[in-house]
C-alpha cells in the first residue's frame, strides 16, 4: 500500500511537471500529428497539396479519408478541361513522390534530408530467452531549408536540442536487470543495452559556465519529465545529480548525470516515446510492440540517445530492448513472441530491416544447435567470426506474406556469451540502522576471455568505478579498503587515480570516481567503504519510509577493453554501424536498498510540547531561585502567622469539624451561594451572549 502511495505521489508531481515541460517545449507534441501526415505532400513540392495527399495515401494503401474525397468533389464540379489539366499535372508530380517514398535509391538532387530507418534485431540467448532489440534512427541535417519545420524529425526533440544547447543526451528507462553473466557483457549490444534499473539521464551541454549548465539541466529535466511522462523532474534537485569528470565519460565538466533507481516503467512512458516515430506503432516494425507481450519480459529497457553537432545535425537513436521468454523453450517464432505479425515497413522509413544475430559460440561449437526456418536475404559474419547476422528486408513482405522468423533449438546446451574481464557486483554489509559498508566485488571471468591475459608481472587490468551516493549515506572515504585475492592491499598500490566529491548534507550527493589497477592473474578483488546512515527530517521521508532508500547503480568500466564488431560494408544499417564504434566494456551493478531509521511520524506536537516543557521547567525554576528574597518571605510568613493559623492546623480543625458534624460558617456559605444567579450575573451573561451573536453575525455578513 505504501508503495502505491509513493507512486501516486510521484506520478502526480510528474503530471505537474509534464504540464510545465510541455509549456516550455511549446506543445511540440500536438503539432507533430499534423506534420507527419502532411510531410510527404510537402516533400513533393508545396503545390497541389490536396491532390498529393490523395496520391500519397494511394501509394501507402491507406484508406481515403472524407476530406480528400470532398476535395475531389469540389474539383469535379469544375469544368472537364481544368480537371484534365490537373490530372496531367498530377502525373507530372507523381515522379518525385515515387522517388522519395517508393525506393531505397535516394534522390541525389537534395543533398541533405531528414531520414528515418527502423531495424529489429533478434538474438537467441543461451538460457533460451530471446532478445528483441528495436532500433529507430532519425536524423536531421544541421541546416534545413525548411526553417523551424521538420518532415520526419520530431519537432519537440529538435526544440529541446536547440533551446538547451545539448551536445549529447541519453535517457533510459529500464525495468529489470541485464544478466551480464548469461546474456553477455563485452559485445556491443550488451554494453549499450545494459542499463541501470529505473531512469538514467546524462547530458553534455554546449554551455561555458557551470551555473548555466546547472540551470539548463534543471529546465531539461522538467521538459523531459513532461515529454516522457515520468518523474525525471526529481533529478532537478542538486542532491540527485552529479558532474563526473572522467569516471562516466571523459569531459570538461559539462556533463551532468542523474539516476532515479526506483522509477517504475510502464506504457505511459512508451506511448510518448513512440510518438517521436513518424509511423508511431501503426505501421512498420514498431507495430510489433504489443504491450502485454513486451511488458511480460524479463528485462525491458527503453532508450533515447541523441547527438547533435554542426557536421551531422541531430541524430536520435531510439532503442527498445526486451528479453522475452518464449512459451516453448525450444522453438519460437516472431509471431509467438509478439502476438503480432510484421506485414510491412513504415512507408516513411528509408530502410526497414530485421536481423537475426547468432552468437559465434552457438554456431561454431555445433552446427546443429539452432535451426532457422525462413529464408534470409543476406548472411554475413563479422570480422572475427564472433557472430553471424541474417538479414531480412521487411519491404519484401506484405499482409499476405508476413515476415515470421522461426528458430528451433535442436539441442539443449548451456553456453554463455562473451564476458567482461571482471564480473562486478555490489552489496551492503553490516546490520542495524546506524552504519554499514558498501562492498563492490569483482570476480574474474578468465575462462571466457582467454588469450587476453598473460600472467607476466607487468600486466595490469584497469578498472574504473563510478558511483554516486545520496547524501544520507555518509561515506567515510578514508575507510576505503581494497582486497586482492582475499588479502588486504595498500590502497596506494592499487588506486591509479581517484576523484572524490564528498556529499554535502541536503545539498549534493557524493561522487566517487576511481581508476584501479589490478594484476592480470587476479581471481577476485573487493572494495569496501564504511558509511554512517543519516537521519532525516520527517518531511524528507517518502510515504513508505520503512521500505528504505535506493542507492543508484555503480558503473564499472574497463577502459582497456573495447567492444566492437565490424561487419562488411555491404550491409548499410545504422544499427550495425553503431557496433563499429569504440565502445568501452562496462557493466552496471545492482541497486542497493538502504533501510534508514525512522522517527515517530505521529509525534511532532508531543515532541514540541515535551521539549518546551523541559525548557520551561529549567527557565521557571531558575528564575524562581534567583528572584527569591528569603528574608522578605520570612517576614511575610510571620505577619501571616499572626492573622491565621498554619495550613495543617486549619485542615485538621476542618476535618475534625466535619467528623463531628458541625457546619462551620454555614451562614456565610448560604449567603455566598444565594447571589450566584443574581440579576447582575444574568445581565452580564446576556450581554456577553448578545455581543457574541452580533459579532458573529457581522463577521459572517462582511
Amino acid at each position: 500500500m505504501g508503495g502505491e502511495g509513493t507512486r501516486m505521489r510521484r506520478r502526480g508531481e510528474a503530471g505537474e511537471a509534464r504540464e510545465r515541460g510541455e509549456a516550455r517545449v511549446g506543445g511540440g507534441d500536438h503539432v507533430r500529428g499534423g506534420e507527419v501526415r502532411g510531410n510527404i505532400g510537402e516533400s513533393c513540392g508545396n503545390i497541389g497539396a490536396r491532390w498529393n495527399e490523395i496520391l500519397c495515401s494511394l501509394f501507402h494503401g491507406e484508406r481515403f479519408t472524407s476530406r480528400p474525397l470532398t476535395g475531389e468533389g469540389v474539383m469535379a464540379s469544375h469544368t472537364f478541361l481544368s480537371l484534365l489539366v490537373l490530372y496531367l499535372y498530377s502525373f507530372h508530380l507523381a515522379r518525385p513522390i515515387h522517388c522519395s517514398v517508393g525506393s531505397n535509391g535516394f534522390d541525389t538532387t537534395s543533398v541533405l534530408k531528414e531520414e528515418f530507418s527502423e531495424e529489429l534485431l533478434l538474438k537467441p540467448l543461451p538460457d533460451y530467452k530471446v532478445l528483441a532489440h528495436f532500433h529507430f534512427t532519425s536524423t536531421s541535417p544541421p541546416s534545413s531549408s525548411n526553417g523551424k519545420h521538420h518532415h520526419l524529425f520530431p519537432k519537440s526533440i529538435a526544440q529541446l536540442v536547440k533551446k538547451y544547447k545539448i551536445r549529447e543526451l541519453e535517457l533510459s528507462f529500464t525495468q529489470g536487470r541485464w544478466n551480464y553473466d548469461r546474456w553477455g557483457a563485452s559485445d556491443p549490444l550488451s554494453t549499450a543495452n545494459g542499463k541501470p534499473p529505473g531512469v538514467e539521464l546524462w547530458a553534455l551541454f554546449d554551455i561555458p559556465t557551470k551555473e548555466e549548465i546547472d540551470a539548463t539541466w534543471r529546465n531539461l529535466t522538467h521538459s523531459l519529465s513532461g515529454l516522457f511522462c515520468a518523474s525525471i523532474n526529481f533529478l532537478e534537485s542538486p542532491t540527485s545529480y552529479s558532474a563526473p569528470l572522467w569516471g562516466f565519460l571523459p569531459n570538461n565538466g559539462d556533463l551532468r548525470y542523474g539516476a532515479l533507481p526506483r522509477e517504475a516503467i510502464c506504457t505511459e512512458n512508451l506511448t510518448p516515446w513512440l510518438k517521436l516515430l513518424p509511423c508511431r506503432d501503426k505501421a512498420g516494425i514498431a507495430s510489433l510492440l504489443d504491450r502485454p507481450s513486451i511488458y511480460r519480459g524479463h528485462y525491458h529497457s527503453q532508450r533515447l540517445k541523441l547527438r547533435s553537432d554542426g557536421l551531422n545535425g541531430i541524430v536520435i537513436e531510439q532503442t527498445l530492448s526486451v528479453v522475452l521468454q518464449p512459451i516453448d523453450r525450444t522453438s519460437w517464432s516472431m509471431h509467438q513472441l509478439f502476438k503480432k505479425s510484421l506485414t510491412g515497413k513504415c512507408a516513411l522509413a528509408k530502410s526497414s530491416k530485421v536481423f537475426l544475430e547468432i552468437e559465434g559460440s552457438l554456431v561454431s561449437q555445433n552446427e546443429n544447435i539452432l535451426e532457422l526456418v525462413g529464408e534470409a536475404d543476406m548472411v554475413t559474419n563479422d570480422q572475427h567470426d564472433h557472430s553471424t547476422i541474417y538479414q531480412y528486408n521487411v519491404e519484401r513482405y506484405s499482409e499476405h506474406e508476413a515476415l515470421d522468423i522461426r528458430v528451433n533449438w535442436k539441442k539443449l546446451l548451456q553456453v554463455s556469451f562473451l564476458q567482461a574481464p571482471l564480473h562486478a557486483s555490489r552489496f551492503l554489509m553490516g546490520s542495524g540502522n546506524e552504519r554499514g559498508s558498501i562492498a563492490i566485488s569483482l570476480q574474474s571471468a578468465r575462462n571466457s576471455t582467454k588469450g587476453l591475459y598473460d600472467n607476466s608481472k607487468n600486466c595490469f587490468t584497469r578498472v574504473v568505478i563510478f558511483q554516486v551516493v545520496p547524501w544520507y549515506v555518509k561515506v567515510y572515504y578514508h575507510t576505503l579498503r581494497i582486497y586482492v585475492d582475499g588479502a588486504i592491499r595498500n590502497t596506494k598500490d592499487v588506486v591509479e587515480k581517484i576523484n572524490v566529491t564528498p556529499s554535502e548534507d541536503k545539498v549534493s550527493p557524493g561522487t566517487l570516481e576511481m581508476m584501479l589497477q589490478f594484476p592480470c592473474g587476479m581471481m577476485s578483488a573487493a572494495l569496501t567503504l564504511d558509511f554512517d546512515k543519516g537521519f532525516l527530517h520527517i518531511d524528507e521521508y517518502p510515504p513508505d519510509a520503512n521500505q528504505g532508500f535506493d542507492i543508484p547503480s555503480a558503473l564499472v568500466s574497463f577502459p582497456d577493453f573495447i567492444s566492437r564488431r565490424i561487419y562488411p560494408d555491404s550491409i548499410s544499417s545504422p544499427l550495425l554501424q553503431s557496433y563499429k564504434g569504440r565502445n568501452i566494456v562496462k557493466s552496471y551493478t545492482e541497486v542497493l536498498l538502504v533501510p534508514l531509521t525512522t522517527p515517530d511520524f505521529s509525534m511532532p506536537y508531543n515532541v514540541i510540547t515535551f521539549t518546551c516543557t523541559v525548557l520551561a521547567l529549567y527557565f521557571g525554576s531558575m528564575v524562581n531561585v534567583l528572584r527569591r528574597r528569603v528574608s522578605e518571605e520570612e517576614r511575610l510568613a510571620k505577619s501571616k502567622d499572626k492573622r491565621r493559623p498554619g495550613l495543617i492546623p486549619l485542615l485538621i480543625s476542618k476535618i475534625s469539624n466535619k467528623v463531628r458534624g458541625i457546619k462551620e460558617d454555614s451562614a456565610n456559605q448560604s449567603q455566598s451561594s444565594q447571589p450566584i444567579l443574581g440579576p447582575k450575573v444574568v445581565f452580564k451573561v446576556v450581554l456577553i451572549a448578545l455581543i457574541a451573536v452580533l459579532g458573529h453575525y457581522f463577521l459572517n455578513t462582511s
Binding site: S431, G432, N433, E434, R435, W471, K474, Y476, Y477, H478, I498, V500, T501, P502, S503, E504, D505, K506, G510, D532, G534, F535, L536, H537, I538, D539, T597, T598, P599, D600, M603, P604, V607, I608, F610, T611, V614, L615, L617, Y618, F619, S621, M622, V623, V625, L626, R628, V630, S631
Partner: protein, 433 residues
C-alpha cells in the same frame, strides 16, 4: 595546607585504569556511541577531514568534519598511522589519558586557590568557631571525582576530542583563578575556537581577574577588602586579541587554498548554531528539529540559543561574588542546552562540582540526582540499542532518556544555585549575629 591522604596513589590508579582500558579495549567500541562522540567531536570524522586534506581537498568538503583545522595536524598523523594488532586511535587515546590527567591536576590547583582564599575570607569575617569549616582541600576531591567519573573515563576512551575541549575550559578557569591573564586568555580563546559555547565564560573570567576567587558577598565585609582592579582585565583583553590573531593566522595558513576562514566559520560555528545534523545524541534538540515543522525551525533555533544567553545576566548579578561557581553554572547550562551535547560535557561540570563540596553540602535531591544519573546512563544505551540495532524499540524511547537527562541537569543546576544562595544567607546570618 591540608591534603587528602593517598591522593597521588588514587590519581595514579585512575591513570593506570585508563591505560589498561586503552591497551585491552575488549569490544567496547565507545567511539560509535552517540552519547560519547558527537558530529563535532568524533575522531572518525576528524580522520575523514584529515584524509580529505591529504588529498588536497578542503577538510570541510562534504559534511563530515566540523572541528577546528588546528586539530588536524596534531591528531591527524596519530590517527592515520594505523598499526596492525593495535586498536584504532591507539596513540590518540594515549594523548587523551595525558590530557585528562593534566585537567585533573589543574582542577586540583584551582581547588587550592579557592581553599586559600576561602580561609583568608573566613578569618577576616571571624567565622571559625561559628560553623564547621571544611578541613580538607576540595580541589583534591574534585580532581579525583573528575578522574574517576565513569563519564570522564568513557569520554577519554571514546575517540572524541572532548577531553581537549574540557582541558581548555579548565585552563581558562585555572588561569583566571590564579590571576595569570595570558594563560586565561589562551584557554579562553582555544576553548571558544574549539567549541564556541565557552565564549560565555567571559563574564566569570573577568570577575575572577577583577575580584579574585570566590568569597562571601562583599556586603558582609566591614570594609571593601576586594576592590575591583582593571589592570588584569586589560591584560586579559590584550592577550585575548593576541591569541585570537594567532589562531586565525594558523587557521588561515592551514586552510590556504582550500576554502579559507569563511568556510571554516560556516562549517564549524554555523553547523553548531543551525543544528544541521539530526543524528541522535543525549540531548533533546536532535529529535525536536527532526520533528518540528520547517516553518518554525528558525524561530525555535533562536529560542533555544537565546535560552542560554537569557540566564547569563541574572546569574552574574546574583553570583558575582562567586565567579568560579558562576563558571560552573554556565558550563552546566551549556552542557544541557548545547546543540550536540555529550556525556563529556557532563563529566566536566560534575568534576567542577566537587570544588564546591563544602558550600553545597546541604544540597537537596542529591540522592535522587545521583541515581538519576546512573539510571539514565544505563538506560540510554539500552534504548538506543532497541531502536537502532534491534528495531524493536522506537525513537521515542531514546528521546525519553534524553528528556530525563535534561530534567536531571535542570534540577542539578537549579538546586546547586539555590543551595549556594542559601549558604551565603547562612553566612550573612552568622556574621550579623
Amino acid at each position: 595546607m591540608p591534603e587528602l591522604r593517598r591522593y597521588w596513589p588514587i590519581a595514579a590508579a585512575a591513570v593506570v585504569f585508563r591505560l589498561a582500558l586503552v591497551l585491552f579495549p575488549g569490544d567496547l567500541n565507545l567511539g560509535s556511541r552517540p552519547e560519547v562522540a558527537t558530529p563535532l567531536s568524533s575522531l572518525r570524522r576528524l580522520a575523514e577531514g584529515y584524509w580529505l586534506k591529504q588529498s588536497s581537498l578542503s577538510p570541510y568538503a562534504g559534511s563530515m568534519y566540523h572541528g577546528s583545522p588546528l586539530l588536524l595536524p596534531i591528531l591527524g598523523p596519530l590517527i592515520a598511522n594505523r598499526t596492525e594488532g593495535r586498536p584504532m586511535y591507539f596513540y590518540c587515546s594515549f594523548l587523551f589519558v595525558i590530557v585528562d590527567f593534566i585537567s585533573a591536576i589543574l582542577i586540583r590547583a584551582t581547588g587550592r586557590k579557592l581553599f586559600i582564599s576561602n580561609q583568608q575570607n573566613n578569618k577576616s569575617l571571624k567565622l571559625p568557631g561559628k560553623i564547621n569549616l571544611a578541613k580538607e582541600n576540595a580541589g583534591d576531591v574534585a580532581s579525583l571525582i573528575y578522574l574517576w567519573n565513569p563519564l570522564t573515563i568513557v569520554t577519554c576512551l571514546g575517540s572524541c576530542t572532548t577531553p581537549i575541549d574540557n582541558l581548555m575550559v579548565i585552563l581558562t578557569i585555572y588561569g583566571a583563578c590564579s590571576g595569570v591573564a595570558p594563560l586565561a586568555a589562551f584557554g579562553y580563546v582555544m576553548a571558544t575556537h574549539l567549541s564556541l559555547y565557552p565564549a560565555i565564560l567571559i563574564i566569570p573570567v573577568v570577575l575572577l581577574l577583577g575580584h579574585g576567587p570566590d568569597a562571601p558577598p562583599s556586603k558582609l565585609f566591614e570594609r571593601n577588602i576586594r576592590p575591583f582592579s582593571w589592570k588584569p582585565i586589560i591584560y586579559f583583553v590584550v592577550w585575548t586579541l593576541i591569541w585570537t590573531c594567532h589562531v586565525f593566522l594558523l587557521c588561515s595558513i592551514s586552510l590556504k587554498g582550500v576554502g579559507g576562514l569563511h568556510e571554516m566559520f560556516r562549517k564549524t560555528y554555523g553547523f553548531t548554531l543551525k543544528v544541521e545534523d539530526l543524528s541522535p545524541n543525549i540531548g533533546v534538540l536532535w529529535y525536536f528539529f527532526a520533528e518540528v515543522f520547517e516553518f518554525f525551525r528558525d524561530f525555535f533555533l533562536i529560542v533555544f540559543h537565546v535560552n542560554i544567553l537569557f540566564m547569563l545576566l541574572p546569574l552574574a548579578i546574583r553570583l558575582k561574588h562567586r565567579p568560579c561557581f558562576l563558571a560552573f553554572v554556565y558550563i552546566a547550562i551549556v552542557a544541557m542546552l548545547k546543540s550536540y551535547p555529550s556525556v563529556g560535557d557532563s563529566a566536566l561540570y560534575l568534576g567542577l562540582l566537587g570544588l564546591f563540596a563544602s558550600e553545597l553540602a546541604d544540597m537537596q535531591f542529591s540522592f535522587f540526582l545521583f541515581f538519576g544519573y546512573i539510571g539514565v546512563t544505563l538506560l540510554s544505551p539500552v534504548m538506543h540499542n532497541l531502536w537502532i540495532w534491534r528495531g524493536t524499540g522506537n525513537s521515542n524511547f531514546y528521546f525519553a532518556t534524553g528528556l530525563a537527562y535534561a530534567c536531571l541537569q535542570t534540577v542539578l543546576v537549579v538546586e546547586s544555585v539555590s543551595s549556594m544562595l542559601k549558604h551565603d544567607r547562612m553566612l550573612k546570618k552568622l556574621v550579623s549575629v
